[in-house]
């Protein structure tokens, strides 16, 4: 999470060092006059260019193996052209990355390019292998396997339905997470703070907590007025349980000396809860949120597959009905971006709220 931002601030030195022997003299008057200095040619930056070029060439010039009812997979040409365009773009970055004293924005882009260069080599090689095994040789046969190029078609032809499904998933998910996180946090703090509340609520957490919320799905669909409200409830349950448990343990493990200090300074009970206990417990609360998020994704997809008539889970079932595996892959990839995006968002919020932890713990 954090390594990338560190690397952006401070360009990695290794690729530069590797470039040492392949030093190419690029120097002209224009460069000198703007006080932009050439350092060393970033030769390592040529490898992503070559890799993406190779991917484009294979896609475009190696004919598809005819399969089923089509001579050629759809969007092969677009995919190849896209790969070549990216190769050209990486070439541009490799050249600018060879100069220093550029504007800050470009410096940052360069640093990013240097950081991701190894991935930009591995990724196209993987895609090329995938393309060869599916479209070019047919080693992995349709309909279960499809070349990466065909995904473009799935997104192009069905973007409206996909976007709508993704949007519905996000709405349902966020509604459930919000309720779950708020109630879980409140309950966790309450049982961490008050013996009496602990006495009454602890058994519920103990016995109902370990029950997988998905097991309640059929019943919830029956009891709630709509499949939407039932899903919100179950997603909230999946999020709320770990949040409650970890908020509770966070509050319970606060150093007692903090309370002593605050009490001698004249703190009220309210101050002890909101200014001492909760801030001290917050790192644990975020662990709970992280776990809760994972649980909520499971419930979301299962609920959408079983009853909710929209969303990415529903889309998967729908595509399965047509045996359209390409669309399923497309939906899965979208899901991956959606869920990892939410996790990244959570981390970003945590990094902001827990800046004080920097230097105490290693993230």
């Amino acid at each position: 999470m954090n390594t990338s931002s560190v690397a952006l601030d401070k360009p990695a030195e290794t690729p530069r060092a590797k470039a040492g022997s392949g030093d190419i003299a690029v120097c002209n008057a224009a460069v000198r006059s703007t006080a932009v200095r050439r350092t060393r040619f970033y030769a390592f930056g040529l490898l992503p260019v070559a890799a993406w070029g190779l991917l484009g060439a294979i896609t475009l010039f190696w004919p598809d193996k005819p399969s089923g009812f089509a001579e050629e997979w759809p969007c092969t040409r677009e995919f190849g052209a896209g790969a070549l365009t990216l190769a050209a773009f990486w070439l541009l970055l490799a050249i600018t990355a060879s100069f220093s004293s550029l504007p800050r924005v470009i410096e940052r882009i360069n640093a990013g390019f240097r950081h991701f260069a190894p991935w930009l080599i591995v990724l196209p090689l993987f895609l090329a292998l995938w393309e060869i095994l599916t479209a070019k040789t047919g080693a992995l046969a349709p309909p279960f396997f499809a070349p990466p190029s065909s995904l473009i078609e799935a997104y192009r032809d069905d973007y409206a339905r996909l976007a709508d499904s993704a949007w519905n998933s996000i709405k349902l998910l966020l509604e459930g997470i919000l309720w779950g996180a708020l109630t879980g946090f409140t309950i966790g703090v309450a049982i961490g703070w008050s013996q009496r509340i602990n006495y009454w609520l602890h058994p519920f957490l103990r016995f109902l907590g370990p029950l997988p919320p998905t097991a309640l799905l059929p019943i919830a669909f029956f009891f709630f007025p709509s499949s939407h409200s039932a899903s919100v409830f179950l997603i909230a349950l999946a999020t709320g349980f770990p949040v409650a448990i970890l908020s509770w343990s966070g509050i319970a493990s606060v150093n007692k000396a903090y309370y002593d200090v605050a009490r001698t300074l004249g703190a009220s009970e309210r101050f002890l809860i909101f200014r001492v206990a909760i801030p001290a417990a917050l790192p644990q609360v975020f662990v709970g949120l992280f776990m809760g998020l994972g649980g909520s994704f499971v419930v979301l997809i299962v609920a959408e597959m079983m009853g909710v008539k929209s969303g990415l889970g529903w889309y998967l079932e729908w595509a399965k009905g047509y045996a359209d595996y390409v669309k399923m892959y497309a939906a899965l990839i979208l899901m991956t971006f959606l869920f990892s995006g939410l996790i990244s968002l959570l981390f970003a919020v945590r990094d902001r709220m827990l800046v004080w932890q920097k230097g105490i713990v290693k993230w």
Partner: protein
């Protein structure tokens, strides 16, 4: 550095030299402990920690407590702070019983216990914030930071401070409340010896300028002799007072003072460590 108006109105301009022989119950001002006993309810049996401790601390007086480790000194401090109630006996401040913590009696522990999620400034502001007067009295936070020389570290987080600086921040957090009594529980115990000597000087000058009383627990006999007007020596647990030794030497004191060296011998004797000297 400290303006005259920051001195407590009721603080005496000279520091009374408490006579050790004097009965502790001569008046109602200051802190008075009367036959205080304390025990913890251990699972198996009661753990007696304090036995019949009677002690008076006059306003503005600097008293050091010495005693074997685990004898009950910290417990005594917690009772005086009002963090716990004594099992028996009474503790009063200016005649009123102490039954809850109050900003007029602030404890500084061996660990600075700064809140790691707050900057140094926010930590020092804690007392004002807790009592809801921070908005009006913001300037006092900067003033308190100046007193301990941390003004340039106002906006860093505690983990970025050295041990000495953290303890200075804890002192500032205590002093901003203008306490009548500063309770110090081995405040310098974890610092290296050079920092400790430096901080001893600072505690002394803060005490002289601000006129509060100090109740200091230390395991360092030299520290007690260098700082305190009176040393109270406790027995092993359950702690009771073995002796009270007045240190009738003017400030600033010198660590090599031969009279202090003699007193040191006496203190060590009382602690049962006379032979090692």
């Amino acid at each position: 550095m400290v303006k005259a108006n920051t001195l407590r109105a009721d603080s005496p301009s000279t520091f009374p030299q408490e006579d050790a022989e004097k009965a502790p119950f001569h008046g109602t001002s200051g802190i008075v402990l009367d036959q205080v006993c304390h025990a913890f309810d251990a699972p198996a049996s009661r753990l007696d920690v304090l036995r019949d401790v009677s002690l008076a601390i006059a306003p503005g007086e600097f008293v050091a407590l010495l005693g074997p480790s685990g004898c009950g000194k910290s417990t005594l401090l917690r009772l005086v702070a009002g963090l716990e109630r004594a099992s028996a006996g009474t503790i009063t401040q200016d005649g009123a019983p102490i039954d809850h913590p109050d900003p007029s009696r602030i404890v500084v522990f061996q660990d600075p216990t700064l809140f790691p999620w707050r900057t140094v400034w926010q930590n020092v502001a804690l007392g004002l914030e807790a009592r809801g007067v921070l908005k009006q009295e913001k300037a006092r936070v900067d003033e308190a930071l100046c007193k301990v020389g941390l003004e340039s570290f106002a906006h860093v987080y505690p983990h970025q401070l050295s041990g000495g600086m953290a303890q200075r921040a804890a002192l500032a957090r205590a002093l901003i409340n203008q306490p009548q009594l500063l309770i110090l529980d081995e405040p310098l115990g974890k610092l290296d010896s050079l920092t400790r000597m430096e901080m001893q000087g600072e505690i002394l000058s803060l005490w002289q300028k601000n006129g509060f009383s100090v109740l200091l627990v230390t395991h360092d006999v030299e520290e007690a002799l260098f700082l305190a007007q009176r040393i109270v020596i406790f027995s092993p647990r359950p702690a009771s007072i073995l002796a009270q030794i007045p240190i009738d030497r003017p400030y600033p004191r010198h660590r090599g003072d031969p009279i202090l060296a003699n007193l040191r011998h006496e203190v060590l004797n009382r602690l049962g460590l006379g032979e090692s000297w």
